[in-house]
């Protein structure tokens, strides 16, 4: 097949950039950080574009369409269903990318597919979510933007042809960038990417994700209209006795989160098994349910932050709040369960705010001296339900902290979030995301067993016996050593034992029985200078990753002192796998 001009341009751009990186001899980590900046920037732009697309959808469905048909009151019942009509072709042609929540799909891509996400996910997800959310579907824009960001990260990674762990980190960068930009909450974005998307905290992934998150937030702050992101009022803790109430709130939030998770997956199954119509028409049914609820309670429609703010400010009575809480669960379950496209982060915040409002009201009646206002409970409730549903208390705590901007919220937030997470965990094994994967037969925790390898370092397993030779050894002696030696590699060193290069038996086997090159060629001419190596304090996960992108059976271990590369030992692939199996066995025995 003849490559198209577009391929040619992409390739030449890639070669230019990689040439540039090579010239400045960027280390792995630096390379990743430079790429993280690119991902963050594109993620920021993506979130702005997505935001505008939703606005466009809202304008179309809630202004242009009503204007055309003459603004009848009952129209609101039909709008979500009408929007779902536009969804049908997308679901028909791209059933995987267009439907439901994108975060589980991203988690799956990270854990099972090495972070590879199809490029078309980006556009399909953006369009489908803009239609669902623009036409009043009850869901959030945060889930989609996380997946959109992640697919940007993956696309950039695929462009630079990175593989393994680095690809996953870039996907995490994209996810963090998306969330950070849309929420204006960079720290929460980072923690969400680590806690939920990657499922691990590691120093290696931390810096690029932070950088990506910061860049994305800066981009979105610079261009997005002020007020587009959720901005919460500052928080005050009135009395330390209130912590007790917050604990109760946490328990209730755990129960709400479980109810929501069960409702969502229940409705999903209902549609999957019993719906009388084809998959791509199902969102219309869901839309009708949402429209009918929206006729009486328009607050549950779409993803506007206003109802949350009103709940915090105490503008609703307790009975309205209760109705909103229950109806939001139902509406979201029907929007997403029927195949609409959107996320669950915002609905969780909504539920948390209404739940907190109700309980705050109750606590105020019970002990007005200790809990003088309900607003704080609504605020903390948001974080608690979110943390429990996605099983990411750290991200939820930081999000509450960032959105309010007041440090005083930390104690109540930590109490509620952690309790809610524990209660959720007690009542059901999976988070709202992993449950979605389990429904499809995927056990995400098994895929994360790689974690075992992050706790051991190279120093634990390396062999200190290295086949090393001086770099001025003549050709014939090198060949003799290759023939006699055990391994497939010889490492060349300078006078001070610093690693210069590696000679692979593979490279020279063509001339091995010929001594034409004797006297002309020395070890240093035969060696590859740009050696991939590991350091003693590197984790096994990171070295396994290096093994995955090069074709070597062993890697040199190099202690880097003052810029010199002192050759310390080697680590072999087989040894690495042996240790991995042993460690896994040990853990299984401890657990049982």
């Amino acid at each position: 097949m003849k490559p198209s001009t577009k391929d040619g341009i992409v390739r030449s751009l890639r070669n230019q950039l990689l040439g540039f990186f090579r010239r400045y001899k960027l280390s792995d980590q630096t390379f990743l950080i430079v790429v993280a900046v690119i991902v963050g920037f594109l993620g920021g732009l993506g979130s702005i574009f997505f935001e505008k697309l939703i606005e466009l959808g809202q304008h179309f469905f809630f202004e242009i369409v009503p204007h055309i048909v003459g603004n009848p009151k009952w129209l609101i019942i039909l709008i979500p269903a009408f929007g779902a009509v536009f969804l049908a072709p997308l679901i028909y042609f791209f059933p995987v990318e267009a439907k439901s929540d994108g975060v589980p799909a991203t988690m799956e891509a990270v854990a099972l597919k090495g972070g590879i996400i199809k490029v078309r996910t980006f556009s399909t997800r953006m369009l489908a979510s803009a239609i669902t959310l623009g036409s009043g579907g009850s869901a959030g824009k945060e889930g989609p933007i996380i997946q959109i960001g992640a697919s940007i990260g993956s696309a950039v990674g695929q462009f630079f042809k990175v593989s393994g762990e680095r690809m996953r980190v870039l996907v995490g960068c994209g996810a963090a960038a998306g969330l950070a930009a849309i929420f204006n909450a960079p720290i929460a974005g980072v923690l969400f990417a680590l806690e939920v998307v990657l499922g691990e905290f590691s120093v290696h992934s931390f810096s690029p994700i932070v950088i990506s998150s910061v860049v994305a937030t800066a981009v979105s702050r610079a261009w997005l209209v002020e007020g587009a992101a959720l901005k919460l009022p500052p928080y005050t803790l009135f009395s330390y006795w209130e912590i007790g109430f917050y604990a109760l709130l946490g328990i209730a939030a755990g129960v709400v989160s479980v109810s929501f998770t069960k409702a969502l997956h229940g409705v999903e199954k209902l549609f999957h098994r019993h719906a009388p119509i084809k998959t791509h028409w199902q969102p219309i049914l869901g839309g009708l349910v949402v429209g009918m609820i929206g006729f009486f309670f328009p607050q549950i429609l779409g993803c506007a932050y206003t109802p949350i703010l009103e709940a915090i400010q105490g503008n609703f009575l307790w009975n309205t709040l209760l109705a909103l809480l229950i109806l939001k669960i139902i509406a979201t379950a029907f929007t997403l369960g029927s195949g609409g496209s959107g996320g669950i982060l915002y609905p969780c915040l909504f539920m948390g705010a209404t739940l907190g409002g109700i309980l705050g009201f109750a606590f105020n009646l019970l002990a007005p001296g200790i809990a003088p206002a309900a607003g704080g409970y609504a605020l903390v409730g948001m974080g608690a339900v979110l943390g429990a549903a996605v099983q990411a208390p750290m991200a939820a705590i930081m999000m509450g902290f960032e959105l309010t901007g007041s440090y005083a919220v930390i104690l109540p937030l930590m109490t509620s979030c952690v309790l809610a997470t524990v209660v959720h965990r007690r009542l059901m094994r999976h988070s709202i995301y992993t449950q979605a994967l389990v429904d499809r037969g995927i056990d995400i925790s098994a895929a994360r067993e790689m974690g075992v390898l992050t706790t051991l370092t190279v120093a634990d397993v390396m062999s200190r016996e290295v086949p090393k030779i001086p770099s001025n050894m003549p050709y014939n002696e090198v060949v003799q050593l290759c023939l006699k030696g055990q391994g497939n590699y010889l490492y060349t060193t300078d006078e001070e034992d610093n690693l210069e290069g590696v000679i692979s038996f593979q490279d020279i086997k063509e001339f091995i029985y010929d001594d034409q090159l004797n006297g002309l060629v020395f070890a240093r001419d035969m060696a590859n200078r740009d050696v991939v190596y590991v350091t003693p304090d590197e984790t096994l996960a990171s070295s396994l990753n290096k093994f995955s992108y090069i074709d070597m059976e062993e890697l040199p271990v190099v202690g880097s002192v003052d810029g010199f590369r002192r050759l310390l030992g080697i680590i072999t692939r087989s040894e690495l796998m042996k240790i991995y199996r042993k460690e896994m066995l040990r853990r299984v025995m401890i657990e049982s």
Binding site: L18, L520, D530, V531, D551
Partner: protein
């Protein structure tokens, strides 16, 4: 890919004057135009001399193959120089050198370069080839002799590398990174 492809017409000198190996190498590089091949000719010369100091590249039988890996080279190249009188090259057999092939290549072309050296030695060790180069009347005559080296320089592995533009983080069998 054959040996002759690496010898540019401009890179053939039929009558080198200097009679000592370092002077001779200097003269060779001074006399040929290396635009498009070398970034900085003087730096490349320094590296060539440095390599020569390590050990003489005269392989006996009146031949020498001064060579060096240098990132001053944009791509692999050879320069041929001939001396009727013979240059003192400290060769193993003590005889003066009449045919000199300078070879340079960037580090990234290591495998190809080793192949070039290998085939060059094999080519020169054929008595006829050496004789005919000595007797060639002009530049074209020399090129014709070199064109006799029909062996394909690309091993299967090299063919793959050259074809699929080398991935900066993945070079099979070697562990080269970018």
């Amino acid at each position: 890919m054959q040996l002759g492809q690496f010898l540019d017409k401009k890179h053939v000198i039929l009558d080198i004057q200097k009679l000592e190996r370092f002077d001779c190498l200097e003269e060779i590089l001074e006399r040929v135009a290396t635009d498009g091949y070398l970034r900085n000719k003087m730096k490349a010369l320094d590296e060539l001399l440095e390599r020569e100091q390590l050990a003489s590249t005269a392989i006996g039988g009146g031949m020498a193959i001064p060579h060096v890996f240098t990132d001053e080279a944009r791509r692999p190249l050879m320069i041929m120089a001939r001396s009727k009188e013979g240059v003192a090259f400290e060769s193993l057999d003590g005889k003066p050198v009449h045919v000199i092939f300078v070879a340079m290549a960037p580090r990234k072309d290591k495998d190809l370069f080793i192949n070039i050296l290998y085939h060059l030695v094999r080519f020169l060790k054929v008595k006829e080839n050496f004789q005919d180069i000595m007797e060639a009347k002009d530049v074209d005559g020399v090129l014709k002799v070199v064109a006799r080296a029909k062996d394909n320089l690309l091993s299967e592995k090299l063919k793959r590398l050259v074809k699929d533009e080398v991935h900066p983080y993945r070079v099979p069998g070697t562990g080269v990174s970018g």
